[in-house]
Amino acid sequence: MSIRAAAVKLAVFMLLWSGCDKGLEPLNEPSGFSGVIRFKNWPPPDSALELRLTAFERYPSDTSSIVRALFAGQAVVYPPVGSTGFAKFVDSIAYVFSDEGAIIKVTEYKYVALAWRYGTNFLVDWRPAGVYTTTPGSFDPAPVRVLLHRITPNIDIEVDFYNLPPKPWQ
């Protein structure tokens, strides 16, 4: 076979091959964590206005650090701000906080808590209602590591509106 014929055949083969293969494809494997939030002793409806799960890369020490973290993407919220929060007056909620429906990074979140808005001031009337911990009966926060294309399970949170965790910020 001449060089010319070999080159032409090689080119045609490559051309056909490239036409059949599509290359990279989405993995369709979200990253995030999931769990169940269990509730006890709901407050009256006029002070149970909004509930959202929050995850902070660094422990929030004051109000300004929360705002900074939110703007810098170092704190994330689920359900996302702008959408309806979690259902209220239920015994439990099973959730999946992933990058499919919200913004979450592949990183370690030091503080994961359920944020509760108890008043009408959207900016300041918030406090933690429950915190993720691995020490039952305590409010010691436990870190949650988000792995790429994995939903870390069992990030469960107990909420007792009569026994709330301390506010980590001033």
């Binding site: 080159a7 170092q74 294309h149």
Partner: protein
């Protein structure tokens, strides 16, 4: 004192020999086309007296004249792209007389005897070059509608791109815009940014490029720092004696992404651009003007681009033997900054924090090139360049814009002496100063001086030997003061007509850029820290090759090469608790060896052209007993082009094997999610064109379908390349 003066005078007389420019005689004539277009004048044919510094080009009527030629016998060479080279030996020039030569040139399906200028810093035939070299002509660049020079480089054998960084035969990986192991020249003058030491392809308007010459292998013996892997010389267009106005416009759009998950907008993403150029040489003075505008919505979120270029070139022929060329080019560019994807499921959108990042730059350069044939056998050249870069980026985390200003000033003088029929000597010295003021690099002034020399010896009719060396000294402003001696040697042997054997050796080095040594920046828990202890990288390159002409219809070239690198600078990731640090360090001893072959075929008087190039490299990281990052082992290109009257069609295909190693550290710590997802690359482009000048309408129309099979791939981690793209180009030559 008198003794010294006598010595200098004697030396000068020796150097200029007996051929000092005097009244002498002259050579004139007319060059016309043969074959189908018989009798038509050929414009822009290079005419030179072999073995001398004298030459010219034909004017609009195909006429040429070389005056003030010392009496003697000369060999005259006529060369032009697309035509077979013609040689007229034993042309007698007599005092006060004019030798007249009328030459007819026939079209060549394959160009085998191009005139190049990069390999030895002088004009010579490609077949006389003892190293591997590729040339891309303007026509090829225009056919592909390459918007930036790096688009065109993707089709040169042995060259591949990682993002916008160029890699010649495995010399470079990806250094995130800091430093380059390939030196770019514009009209022979080094063109790298003063702060980051990178090649900024956008600064050179593609519409004004005459050709791109690529020398493969270490070339620091002539060009100094950065020429470890090779040299890319962008030659700008000469100014036409016929008034020429070119108006060009293109418009196109990106296809929708292949998968619904990747759709991030409902709108079609468009691109468009317009350029206008005018060139005219009247008598001794030529002026060329060019302006362009390019808008691109981008196929990825926050990846839009707005680009404006302005360029002016002037030439003044003071006499038959000396001329001055001045260039000025300005680029303003603004666009989003897409560093890497959010992850493979969201491949066309950036991480949340980078959604508004943007980068703005203003870059301009001015250069001067003075050529003077002091004698028939002595050419003197002086070059200077001033290159200003002002770029800045804005991120959500930063307060205000982060800016970097740099000025690179270069000057060089060189002489080529055609001493006799055996020796051609080239010698010169150059110097450069970089003045940098940047938020992230600090204020630095660095520079260097160099002297070099080379002797090309024709030791027998079919055997040539080249020896050369260059000494460089770099200031202490960057790292430690350092000096480099870079030798080169090459041999070229023609055992039979059309067959050329070559072997070469060269040393290369690169001084780390200001950016690599002094960067200090940080985002979130990721910081980039300086390393003022960096020392220059260096390499030794070896090559053997054979080139064979296949009758009048093709060429074949084969080369085997090896480069040994020491002190390669790489960006390393340091994990310190929760903090991540990146620092450039001299870490790697490496060896890259491989083979390269290329083949060109032209049939039916050039109406059907076919070419392919294949390069295999084995890039060993000896220090880490692994493979070097971002070096594909197989690179294969092929192109076929057919022309039938006013219609033309072409197809380009390229295959680049999946790179063995990437910055896996950035993937593991989560900075580039799914960054290790990569595949072999198969890209096919189709084009059809209509040349309406066949009907006396001065229009050229080309429709391109790039990445026709919508193949999804990355060159750089986390950076999906464009999907299928439709582009229509209309060009009017008035």
């Amino acid at each position: 004192m008198a003794m010294r003066r006598q010595y200098c005078t004697a030396l000068l007389v020796f150097v200029i020999s007996s051929n000092v420019l005097a009244a002498g005689g002259s050579i004139s004539g007319r060059v016309t086309a043969g074959g189908e277009a018989e009798g038509e004048p050929l414009v822009g044919v290079t005419v030179f007296l072999q073995g001398t510094a004298r030459g010219t080009t034909t004017n609009a009527k195909g006429q040429f004249r070389i005056s003030e030629v010392s009496p003697g016998t000369f060999t005259i060479v006529f060369s032009m792209v697309g035509y077979r080279r013609e040689t007229r030996p034993d042309v007698l020039v007599e005092e006060g007389k004019e030798a007249v030569l009328n030459v007819s040139m026939t079209q060549a399906p394959i160009q085998t005897e191009q005139v190049v200028v990069t390999a030895s810093k002088r004009q010579q035939s490609l077949e006389e070059v003892p190293v591997s070299m590729s040339i891309m002509e303007a026509a090829e660049i225009e056919q592909r509608n390459s918007l930036v020079i790096d688009d065109a480089l993707r089709y040169i054998p042995g060259v591949n791109m990682t993002g916008s960084q160029v890699n010649i035969r495995g010399s470079s990986g990806y250094s995130r815009g800091a430093g380059s192991r390939v030196l770019m020249l514009v009209d022979g003058i080094p063109f790298i940014t003063g702060d980051t030491g990178e090649l900024n392809f956008e600064s050179i308007p593609v519409g004004q490029v005459d050709r791109i010459e690529v020398v493969k292998g270490a070339s620091s013996a002539l060009y100094g720092s950065n020429a470890l892997g090779g040299v890319i010389n962008v030659i700008t267009k000469p100014i036409s004696e016929v008034p020429e106005t070119i108006i060009r416009a293109y418009g196109g759009f990106y296809n929708k992404p292949s998968f619904d998950q990747w759709k991030w907008t409902e709108s079609t993403r468009f691109m468009n651009g317009q350029s206008v150029s005018y060139a005219h040489k009247v008598g001794d003075l030529g002026v060329s003007l060019f302006a362009s505008r390019q808008f691109d919505d981008g196929y990825r979120q926050n990846d839009f681009r707005r680009r404006y270029n302005f360029y002016v070139k002037t030439t003044e022929d003071f006499s038959a033997s000396n001329s001055l060329t001045l260039n000025f080019s300005m680029l303003y560019q603004y666009g989003g900054q897409f560093l890497y994807w959010r992850n493979l499921d969201s491949a066309l959108i950036p991480p949340v924090l980078q959604k508004t990042d943007n980068v703005k730059s203003m870059r301009y350069y001015a250069s001067a090139l003075y050529n003077d044939a002091l004698a028939d056998n002595l050419l003197f050249t002086a070059k200077a360049l001033y290159y200003h870069n002002d770029w800045g980026y804005e991120t959500i985390n930063a307060i205000g814009r982060t800016e970097s200003l740099s000025d690179d000033i270069r000057a060089e003088v060189l002489s080529t002496l055609f001493l006799d029929r055996v020796h051609t000597l080239t010698a010169g010295f150059d110097g450069n100063v970089d003045i940098v003021g940047a938020d992230i690099f600090g204020s630095k002034t660095v520079g260097g001086l160099a002297v070099y020399g080379q002797d090309e010896m024709k030791v027998a009719e079919n055997l040539s030997l080249t020896l050369g060396a260059r000494f460089d000294y770099q200031s202490a402003g960057l790292t430690k003061a350092s000096s480099q001696l870079n030798p080169k040697a090459a041999v070229l042997y023609n055992p039979a007509a059309g067959t050329t054997l070559r072997a070469s050796f060269g040393r290369g080095f690169r001084v780390p850029s200001v950016a690599e040594a002094f960067i200090s920046a940080g985002v979130s828990n990721l910081t980039v820290i300086p390393n003022p202890d960096l020392v220059p990288e260096n390499s030794y390159s070896y090559e053997v090759g054979i080139s064979q002409m296949l009758g009048g219809f093709g060429t074949f070239d084969f080369a085997a090469f090896r480069s040994d690198y020491d002190n390669l600078v790489e960006a390393g990731l340091i994990v310190s608790g929760q903090n991540l640090q990146i620092q450039w360090r001299n870490v790697t001893k490496a060896r890259v060896q491989g083979i390269e072959t290329s083949f060109k075929l032209g049939l039916f008087d050039g109406d059907l052209l076919y070419s392919l190039g294949y390069t295999y490299v084995y890039p060993e990281d000896i220090t880490h007993d692994d493979l070097l990052k971002y070096r594909p082992r197989h690179v294969f290109y092929t192109t076929a082009r057919g022309q039938l009257g006013w219609l033309s069609a072409s197809v380009d295909f390229r295959f680049i094997s999946r790179v063995d190693r990437v910055d896996v550290e950035l993937v593991e710590v989560g900075i580039v999610p799914d960054g290790d997802e990569r595949v072999d690359i198969f890209v096919t482009d189709f084009r059809i064109g209509a040349d309406l000048s066949f009907f006396d309408v001065p229009l050229n129309i080309t429709l391109s379908l790039n990445n026709a099979f919508q193949y999804n791939y990355v060159e750089l981690i986390g950076n999906m390349m464009p999907p299928r793209t439709y582009v229509l180009v209309i060009e009017a030559k008035l």
